[in-house]
Symmetry: C2
Subunit: 190 residues, 2 copies
């Protein structure tokens, strides 16, 4: 049975454990074993100091990822217009390791529309780039996030799954997650 690492800002939610369990159950129905960050064996009480604890968690998460065959990333915007950076690091690392990566977002907007929806005013600069009122260039590639994210998914044949979740289920709606599982099942069966 192939193992899938379930990456996302899920770990920061108050119901992180329940959400992880729900995702793992869904994985089983598609023939996969799901692993979440909470699966690591790590006794933080034995590690002195905050910084050393953080480093230990990094190593333990990396070990979990090493033990998995592929990953499904929740890429719903978190704490800003883009996906959670911890998730994006893991996505990059897995792809660098040659392991497939699928991703979903519970925001249906394109990156540029999301920037606009956050109240930014976009104009076009002398080189034809969209720029914010701070003069920062904005991506306009009909992608849901930074082009390294959507580009990486596309390059593997798993374009970003976009789903419009209800606002109160922004991080917990599993429609896009299940769509990723379906795609993975098709890919690994063939």
């Amino acid at each position: 049975m192939k193992r899938v690492y379930l990456s996302g800002p899920d770990v920061f939610l108050p119901n992180a454990i329940e959400l992880g369990e729900a995702k793992k159950k869904l994985c089983i129905t598609y023939g996969f074993e799901g692993l979440v960050p909470a699966d690591k064996k790590l006794d933080l009480s034995k590690i002195p100091g905050k910084y050393a604890k953080g480093v230990a968690i990094y190593h333990a998460d990396l070990k979990l990822m090493q033990d998995c065959d592929f990953t499904i990333c929740q890429l719903t915007p978190y704490d800003g217009p883009s996906a959670d950076v911890g998730t994006v690091f893991e996505m990059g690392w897995m792809i660098g390791m040659g392991k497939p990566c699928l991703g979903y977002t519970n925001s249906p907007l394109s990156m540029l529309d999301r920037i606009k929806s956050m109240g930014h005013t976009i104009s076009i600069d002398a080189q034809g780039w969209p720029v914010s009122e701070q003069g920062l260039r904005q991506e306009d590639f009909d992608m849901s996030d930074n082009l390294m994210i959507d580009g990486a998914l596309e390059a593997q044949g798993f374009p970003m799954i976009r789903h419009a979740a209800r606002p109160d289920q922004l991080y917990t709606d599993l429609t896009g997650f299940e769509a990723c599982l379906k795609l993975a099942k098709q890919r690994f069966a063939s």
Copy 2:
């Protein structure tokens, strides 16, 4: 001469080209050849459609990274409390590829202090985690960003370089960048 990929939100700045040239000049003084995203050979006018253009840029940037021996990432917070996600993807990918990665931030704050400085009120939940007023857990590891970022740098023996830049030089101050070059020179000489 070793090649270093210069990753960062620099590409979104109005003076991206000048900043890239300044970084490349500094690289030379430390014995490295610096490559920036603008170095790719890509005629976007020949690629039809926004999405396809974005994917083409992804592939071209990946090619540049493949051609480099290591990377220096600008990890100054961008569009929120954390580093630019495109940069973080590249960092993860390079490390997954087994290539060293150094990083600097022009914000001296820890992640938790930055969240507080953005106006969030932090309390402690029943499990002892710091949580924001939205109930989202916050990291408190005396790190400058998400633990996957600082942890990855630490794991390679290149802890995050933190520098307090003047606000008007938040993305252009090269003190931290030059500190990374010094560390890289020491490492690769030995």
